[in-house]
């Protein structure tokens, strides 16, 4: 079997075959990667699968996957640059707080590197941002974000909770590729760990805004525990207590409050919703 001949034959009848397969280079790389793992006799299956991917929808899934990974990379750059500034500002009041912010900063940096590598390996071009790309005052909404510890944590909480919702919303876009889907899920749950810890930090430092509100490691109803309504789009919808048509409150005769029912399930946001939330943080 000569794969090159097959591709050439298809090109005669469908000049756009390489666009559908993303690029010739990534098509060959994708095939080489797959064929390396499977027995020779299985190659027709792999070929069928490869062409099916190219023709199964108006826009090739490969493009959808690369777009999704680049969207994730954009959010990771945002978070990474935020924590670089937060750690450098040295406003954390304790060694524990400094240590936690450093752990989170390092994870976000690792996510940036991981996604860049994955996008490049898939034949795509990773988006790129620098420190100057961001405005963490959100156009003046949070003017003292890196000198007011409580405000810094509030913005961090919003970023983490939003990041969780973003990955959750994007995961179905990756369902055709096990490797990318699993990696995205592995990042998603790390963002949730961060979110839980930042929420604890806010409570421990007694810096909830306004004073007297409560915040737990999990999201209760659509409460942010943050005074300004600017962050509310990051929490809208989290009060959902119906999952796949099943009412969760008091389910099965158990005493499950609406608060617990909402906490038990985190909710996704669409790409458009996420873009609207993070746009003010881009310079």
């Amino acid at each position: 079997m000569n794969l090159q001949n097959i591709l050439s034959e298809i090109e005669k009848t469908d000049p756009e075959v390489y666009d559908r397969l993303d690029t010739r280079r990534s098509a060959m790389k994708s095939f080489a990667k797959t064929s390396g793992k499977i027995a020779l006799a299985s190659i027709p299956f792999a070929l069928g699968s490869m062409f099916q991917k190219a023709y199964s929808s108006p826009s090739a899934p490969t493009d959808l996957i690369l777009d999704t990974l680049n969207f994730a990379l954009t959010l990771e750059y945002l978070e990474s640059n935020f924590y670089i500034r937060a750690v450098a500002s040295a406003i954390a009041p304790s060694a524990d707080a400094m240590s936690a912010l450093t752990v989170i900063r390092d994870h976000e940096n690792e996510h940036v590197i991981f996604l860049k590598t994955a996008i490049t390996a898939a034949g795509g071009t990773p988006v790129s941002f620098t420190a100057d790309s961001f405005d963490f005052t959100a156009k003046g909404t949070f003017p003292d974000v890196f000198s007011n510890y409580g405000l810094m944590l509030a913005v961090a909480q919003t970023f983490e909770d939003t990041g969780v919702r973003a990955y959750k919303g994007q995961a179905p876009n990756l369902i055709s590729n096990n490797d990318y889907l699993t990696a995205a899920l592995q990042i998603h749950s790390v963002e949730a760990r961060h979110a839980a810890h930042i929420r604890e930090m806010r409570k421990t430092a007694n810096l909830l805004i306004p004073a007297g509100v409560d915040v737990k490691p999990w999201i209760t109803l659509d409460q942010s525990g943050i005074a300004t309504s600017v962050v509310q789009p990051s929490y809208d919808g989290e009060q959902n207590v119906t999952q796949a048509g099943v009412a969760i409150t008091n389910i099965g005769g158990h005493n499950i409050s609406a608060s617990a029912a909402s906490e038990a399930f985190d909710e996704p946001l669409t790409k458009d919703q996420i873009v609207a939330i993070v746009t003010p943080f881009f310079a």
Binding site: Q186, I187, R193, H197, P217, I248
Partner: protein
């Protein structure tokens, strides 16, 4: 009920036929190679493994998306049973804050368990019999150490199971639950060792959480279950 209102060609928990035995994408991928007949025959044979069959000492999770959801249901049963007992018989010197949050977690796990039971309906596996004989429920370290293991295990189980699902709606549902398990894991880890919410035993050098296969997960969870779980008919990719 888990019904598909948007995509009619996707497996449905109630009316699913052959399609649930293997992923849709694989089906069409293989169709492209012209071997549909052979694969269809295999699928029909696989279909005979319906979930829930077994006696009190063993249970078959079933195949396809139903099998994966039953796998999640099994793990949620284990977690819920654990926290019910933790809250019912608090360890020595459980602080009010710990009591409050462990009660929250208990309620979340009951909500997850009951959700899967309701959604799977007649396809749901039976109630599992747990074995907590290795846990000292009077001892904080024993309880929180077990809780940490369960939560980290649950996170890795959902992370590994996402790729086994064919229906994107079920993937989203699993995603809604796994991040809550990760929040639990982070808080419990911090109760065991402050600042360990995402340390190097949980997160690797790429900043990734763990992802485990059902076989890996069940070999760990099995120590806490009297009921034997047969996961051999679950999808493998």
């Amino acid at each position: 009920m888990l019904n598909n209102t948007s995509k009619e060609d996707q497996p449905d928990l109630i009316n699913d036929g052959m399609a649930r035995s293997f992923s849709r994408r694989k089906f069409f991928g293989i169709m492209g190679a012209g071997t549909a007949v052979m694969i269809t025959a295999a699928a029909c044979r696989k279909e005979m493994h319906s979930p829930g069959k077994g006696n009190n000492s063993s249970v078959d999770l079933g195949s396809g998306d139903v099998g994966v959801l039953n796998y999640a249901y099994a793990l949620e049963q284990l977690e819920a049973a654990f926290y019910v007992k933790v809250v019912a018989s608090p360890y020595t010197q459980m602080s009010p804050m710990e009591k409050s949050y462990l009660t929250d977690i208990r309620d979340h796990e009951i909500a997850h368990r009951e959700f899967f039971k309701a959604a799977l309906s007649t396809k749901a596996i039976q109630s599992l019999e747990v074995d907590f004989s290795a846990i000292d429920f009077t001892d904080r370290n024993s309880v929180l150490g077990t809780a940490k293991a369960f939560e980290d295990l649950g996170v890795s189980a959902y992370n590994g199971a996402g790729q086994l699902l064919s229906n994107p709606d079920y993937l989203t549902l699993a995603g809604k639950i796994v991040s809550v398990e990760a929040r639990h894991a982070a808080w419990i880890r911090d109760m065991v060792t402050a600042g360990s919410f995402a340390d190097m035993t949980a997160v690797d050098s790429n900043g990734l959480d763990k992802a485990r296969s059902p076989q890996e997960v069940l070999s760990i969870a099995g120590a806490f279950l009297k009921t034997k779980i047969n996961a051999s008919n679950l999808p493998t990719s």
